[in-house]
Amino acid sequence: MSKVVFCEDDPMIRKLVQTAMRSTSHDVHIAEDGKQGLELIGHLRPDVVFSDVAMPVMDGFELADAMRARSDLAHIPIVFMTASVQREQVEECFRHGAAGHLAKPFTMSELRARVAQFLKS
């Protein structure tokens, strides 16, 4: 079973993601911030990580940098979910090694399709 890790500080979005992914067959884990997320990722070695950028304790970019710094995690693709659609911020995501970008608000089908895209390959 493919494993997916989500990092999101907003409880409502966490709940939404949890609910949306229930209908899929993936093993979904959700962390509340980057630090929790990094622990989960190191432990689970997921196929893909979806992360918010603005989070307390450790934000999405710091998480991505930390993953790139670890040889065992560097290969795992990370997709940023951001509320900002401004070009500079989207570009910054890719500078931090993002494999993709998902703009908030997103539809559930969009979310599921993006997850599936990374799990097929």
Partner: protein, 684 residues
Amino acid sequence: MRKLPRSLRFYVAASTLYAAVVFFAVQFIYTIQLTQSGILVAERDSGDVLSSIQIVSFIVWLGISLIAAAVMHRLATELAGAKSAEEEAKIAGEQKEQELGSIFGLSAAVAGPLDLEQIGGYFVAAIRGALPTDMTLALIVYDDVLEAFRTVAADGPRAATLQGKSYSTVALPAVVRTRVIDHRQSLLLADDQAHADMWKKIVEELPALATATSFAALPLVSRERLVGALLLIGEGIDDLIADKVQLPMIMGQYVAGSIHSALSVKEAEARAEREALVNRIAQRARASLDPEEILRGTVDELAKVLDVSRALVCTGATEDDLAVTYEWDATGVAPVGIGAKHVPIARLAARLGRTVIVTDVRKDRRFTDPRAAEDVIQQDVIAAAATPIRVGGQLAGALSFSQVDRSREWTADDVRLIEAVAQELRVAITAAEAFERQRAAVAELERLNRAKSDFVSIVSHEFRTPLTGIQGFSEMMAGEDLTLEEMREYAGDINKDAHRLNRMITEMLDLDKMESGRMQLHREPLDLNAIVSDAVDHMRPNAPRHAVSVRLDPLVGEMNGDRDKLTQVMANLLSNAVKYSPNGGEIVVSTRAERGAAHVVVRDHGMGIPKASLEAIFERYGRVESLATRHIQGTGLGLPIVRQIVQLHGGTVWAESSVGEGSVFHVRLPRGAALISAAAEAAS
């Protein structure tokens, strides 16, 4: 005894000889004839008679001869006298003719050219012949532009040392200054007993004269104006006697007129040149709106024309505010630096309200007086000139020029130029002020524009989060098979996010209202302590990691205010205290009664606020954006709202903080003032 002419001596000798010959001849003839006639008397008797006759006749002859000699001598003397007078008259006539000729020659020569050097050359050549060859003569001309005498022509053994030299009036010997320049009288001095004292003095002042024996300075005056002087330096005794300088003096007065005309032309040219320069500067000052460019065009040009080492434009409304805003330095001159405040000469000009000139700071009492040590001019400056710049009667700055390499006699023309340019600089300074205002306005607009786009990005970010929830849950409710229970739950979630969104919008609108003065306070008597403790109670569930303690001063008591708005103030301050101390820690909320005011303090032990941002955080969208705060949610409107509400209550809010240790927010609400204004409101 008078010597007799040779011809007369010869004549007297000849006539005496003749008388003797005649005498002996007569005696011989008498003797023969008397003997022949037999009347020869006795030797003794006849001898006596004869002797008497002979003596008498001899004396008679001698007398006649002497008388004739005397008459002849008188005649000869008269003749000789008449002859020499005639000759003398002839010689004198020739000399006069020569002098007149040279005057006419000179007048013809100087009628044409107006160049000072040429006039000088003709003049010197014209009088050269009338003076001993070993005498040095020089024509010095008073140059109004230089304010000094300048040698325009010289001739004689000392000509080389005089040629092309300038002498400022103060550098001339005192006797020349008083006698020649002030009183316009001729000065004739010789190294003799009659003038011994004066000669000694003049040699002291002009050591070059030590080897000379006489010196003359003859003023050249034309139409009441001293245009120059003729200097004569003699090397031999009796070189300079009044007779000899007569011709140079007459001719000097003649050339004075020409020199005057030449000087007038030169002055008119110089004046025209100056006017052209001022006009050029004025045009430049008006052609540009960029004050920097105006200063570059005017001050630089003037500095070069004046040949100074440094030019400074200081601006400031008072003498003490004057600071360098523009600087030009000649090559190799160390700059004073933009913003430098201590330019003593500029300060002096500003204080006196007029142009100030310093010829040599080392000799100027205003700058050497140790009591004025505070006002010591820049170390390197030797001479300086400064003039105040006034705009609409108010001091706006000062323009100063300085010389670091030498002392300098600032001429009246220099001063006029500096003053004229200072006038033109008013335009530049006025423009600079307008430009600065414009620039500040543009900067403010840019800042607002940036703040606006920042706000749009923040708000869109903040709005998108609740929108994601609303959109996602509603999508699921519409498209998936859900139980009624799930439906209810998701509908509740949608509602929560909708409220969140609404709160954000309300905050924005409230701040807008307050900032534009459309917000009305609903004042009522209230207990501030109660509001504070209610707000803390509301906040506690959201701060499980924080230890919140409350210390309320019962003396705070009742005051007048808007309950909802003051609750919002406390809610915002408390929510910030929690948000910006993500690692928990103690939060202390306290109230304190002060004279006529209630003081509320909220202290956290969070990340703190950089000193530079302590003011900006109260500005709209003035949130401190950093790595540490990037993840903290907020519209950046909480503190601006707090400030607006507190100000509407007549109070003040401020923050103290040190990064890494936490922040303290103070709110001070006047109780009396609030009550009074409430009473006034009620009364109206």
